[in-house]
Amino acid sequence: MSDAPTFERDLADVPTSAFGSRSLTWWGVIAFMAIEATGFALAIGAYFFLMAHEHSWPPEPWLPPDLLAGTLFTTLIVLSEVPNTLAKHAAEKHDLPAVRRLLIVMAVIGAVLLVLRGFEFNSLNVRWTDNAYGSVIWLLLFLHTTHIATDWADTLVLAALMHTREGEEARRFTDTSENSLYWRFVWLTWLPIYLLLYWLPRWAP
């Protein structure tokens, strides 16, 4: 390296933040989604494995979970995709005021969802210690609840961050769009679990 090395190109003009798969944190979010998706897939696999052992599902005297709380929860979480997509587009347009408003909305929705989830746990009609059916139902609900809680906490932190001077930073908009992406993943994984918890026991012979 005695004299100056030959330079092929100068990278000063290369941008410092971008959206979608060009950003590094996008790959991190995708990898964590893959991990959690595998976890959910295997938990659902365990659900079917244990279901095969029962003559009837849910096994005798136990009733399937009540529909009210679960269905309310599902409708709200699917509807939450509207503000979620708006937040994502606002972030990609660097529209700070819109992002600030929408993150507050998402935080509130998250809180309401967690309360509804409390009622859901109450409406399962089975305790986790009763039998394998109860255990696997509580496992699926517990895993998804940690999923919602972590993303809700992330949304709260992001909302607080966007209200500080830090909010103008380009990278924060990338974080917001990726947080919306992760929320989309949260309710997508909920749909199969909703069917397994609430409807399969009613349809299964």
């Binding site: 090395p5 410092t16 950003s23 790959w27 990898a31 976890g39 394998a132």
Partner: protein, 637 residues
């Protein structure tokens, strides 16, 4: 300052002055706090390596204790309960605390250097993963010292590890240790996947990536898709043992086989997670010491990917004796046989590389030859136990102990020792002694065969696994005695290897940037590399840049801020300039909070809830962005 006046490397700023300024912005502050706060992948890689080898030594001592107990029939040097603890600790430590982390260690250290980038992605997550791994190892070994060590085997079959027969906290400690090591391994897998996909040097398209990087990419993806299985299984075991769920309770429609399915769905990819990085080592060492790239690069890459995929399809061959339908078994026999094909191809390509090149018999290359000679035996005994009728006789006997030591020590530890000897000059700046290296090599190779080949025979003479003694008169005396003698010589060989490592720290020959005249990018920087790895961004024109003409560079990265270049996934064209996180104490504190939460959750399930508060605070502080001067970067590009 506007964008133009920001200091950047290039024709105007290069050489020693640039090095000094980069050194200032990239090095961490000294002292314990600085030590705990580092995010430098080289420092974390070294720590992983040292910690993994400490656990190897500990587990090795346990192996010697087992061999002393099994040297003669009907011995009672070690009691039954203690022996069960020892073989459980030996297996668990080797699999969870040595094999996977040591491959992570070398990968964390080398991948950024091989790809020509300045740091791993998510550097703080990398630091966090080391502390979580260390906490998991300490939990297991402090419990073992306190007579609470697990005694249910390294795969802890239920109901023996269940709430009724797994008495006390032993199996909980094991299950929680699995949670720790799996969080650490998953974090490293995310870090390495993102680094390999997004941070390759400009021009290093996927077909010019080093074979070691391919091996680590496939390994990381296998970790991402297999470790959640053991996380779920050990989580369900913990909840069975602590809050009374019925997952594995046969009388409440749970099933003992649910544990085996979930565990081995992780278990078999796990052994390939240990083996594939070793395939990467062998490819790199063979290329350098035969003075030519490995033969048929695309075939080798496809073989690694094929192993990664097939590994997920054959876990039931661990369960041939559990009475599942025979037709299903024949599918898994075929799948287990099929996984031998890509391995066979790789062996052929390595030997063809030797045929076409001019092999130099230095110590790393000797380990590669020993790998081929030893691993192929293990692979072929693997083909034997893939067949149901044979496995029904050989399963859970010492034949299997011989098989997996051949494929794990022969298949992973030999290449690992070769890799350490090969990259030692890059890490420390000095070469390991060739004479002491050859001595410890031949001692290890010979004593390995003496130790583990007789186990094939003791297995076929009906000696089951995990017995703390065996009766006289079954013909087991000689093979077990030979194994015990061999084990001590293996230990001696390891001691010699470690001695060589420490002696060469000061007395080894000065190595310089490229002592082996190798072709990889890691040999383009100094030994040991500076904290920022490369002063300028190297640009790559072929798979072996240093062998194909002078290296070209790209300038323009910032000097007073830590910055690295992101490139596009397939063709590695420059894409983004990414700031690299500053050293921070918060990953360590988060790991501490996680440890407190995990360990106390063994004693009370409420700890999971209360433990989340400190963990949440620590994570928020970790991710809270550094206050950038707002005008430093133009907001809208």
């Amino acid at each position: 300052m506007s964008a133009a006046e920001l200091a950047r490397d290039g024709p105007t700023l290069h050489g020693p002055e640039l090095a000094a300024r980069l050194e200032r912005s990239w090095s961490r502050d000294p002292g314990l706090l600085g030590w705990l706060a580092t995010v430098d992948h080289k420092e974390i890689g070294r720590r992983y390596l040292v910690t993994a080898f400490v656990f190897l030594a500990l587990a090795g001592v346990l192996a010697l204790a087992m061999r002393v107990q099994l040297a003669r029939p009907d011995q009672n040097i070690i009691g039954a309960a203690r022996y069960n603890e020892i073989f459980t600790m030996h297996g668990t430590t080797m699999m969870f605390l040595f094999a996977v982390p040591v491959m992570d260690a070398v990968a964390i250290y080398l991948i950024p250097l091989m790809l020509g980038t300045r740091a791993t992605s998510f550097a703080r997550l990398n630091a966090f993963s080391y502390y979580v791994y260390l906490a998991g190892g300490m939990l297991l070994w402090i419990a073992f010292v306190l007579n609470v060590g697990p005694d249910v085997g390294w795969f802890a079959y239920v109901p023996l590890s269940g709430p009724e027969y797994g008495v006390g906290k032993r199996a909980d400690i094991w299950a929680q240790m699995v949670t720790f090591t799996e969080v650490a391994a998953l974090s490293v897998a995310v870090v390495l996947t993102a680094t390999i996909l997004k941070q390759r040097a400009p021009g290093m398209s996927l077909d010019r990536m080093p074979l070691f990087a391919w091996a680590i990419l496939v390994t990381s993806l296998m970790v991402i898709f297999s470790m959640p299985s053991v996380a779920l299984a050990s989580g369900m075991l913990l909840s069975d043992r602590l809050v009374g769920t019925q997952f594995y309770n046969p009388t409440e429609n749970g099933d003992a086989l649910l544990w085996q399915h979930l565990f081995w769905f992780f278990g078999h990819p796990e052994v390939y997670i240990i083996f594939l990085p070793a395939v990467g080592f062998v490819s790199e060492i063979t290329a350098t010491f035969c003075r030519r790239p490995v033969f048929a690069y695309p075939v080798m890459v496809m073989a690694v990917v094929a192993i990664g995929l097939l590994a997920f399809g054959l876990w039931v061959h661990h369960m041939f004796a559990t009475g599942l339908p025979r037709v299903g078994y024949s599918f898994y026999t075929a799948a287990s046989m099929a996984v031998a094909i890509p391995t066979g191809i790789q062996i052929f390509c390595w030997i063809t590389t030797m045929w076409l090149g001019r092999p130099r018999f230095d110590v790393p290359f000797l380990y590669v030859v020993a790998f081929i000679v030893t691993f192929v035996i293990g692979g072929l005994t693997g083909v034997m136990v893939a067949s149901v009728p044979l496995d029904l006789q050989l399963h859970d006997s010492y034949f299997i102990v011989a098989h997996f030591h051949y494929v794990l020590i022969g298949g992973a530890v030999f290449p690992l020792l070769g890799a350490i000897t090969y990259w030692y000059p890059k890490v420390t700046g000095r070469l390991m002694s060739e004479r002491l290296g050859k001595l410890s090599f031949w001692l290890l190779f010979g004593s390995f065969q003496l130790t583990f080949f007789p186990m094939h025979l003791s297995g076929m003479l009906g000696m089951p696994r995990r017995v703390y003694t065996y009766p006289a008169g079954l013909g087991l005396e000689l093979p077990n005695f030979l194994s015990s003698i061999g084990a001590f010589i293996v230990a001696l060989a390891f001691v010699l290897f470690i001695a060589n490592v420490f002696l060469s720290l000061r007395r080894g020959a000065i190595a310089g940037p490229n002592p082996w005249k190798a072709g990889g990018l890691e040999w383009a920087t100094s030994s040991p590399p500076p904290p920022y790895n490369f002063a300028h961004v190297p640009s790559v024109g072929s798979a072996t840049p240093l062998w194909d003409g002078p290296l070209k560079w790209m300038s323009g990265l910032r000097v007073d801020e830590k910055e690295m270049l992101l490139t596009t996934v397939v063709s590695a064209r420059p894409d983004l300039r990414e700031p690299v996180p500053e050293p921070s104490i918060w990953p360590f504190i988060s790991a501490l909070a996680l440890t407190v939460m995990f360990v106390s959750s063994i004693f009370s399930p409420w700890a999971v809830l209360f433990g989340l508060v400190p963990l949440g605070v620590a994570l928020i502080a970790w991710f809270w962005p550094k206050q950038l001067e707002p005008t430093a970067e133009p907001v809208i590009e």
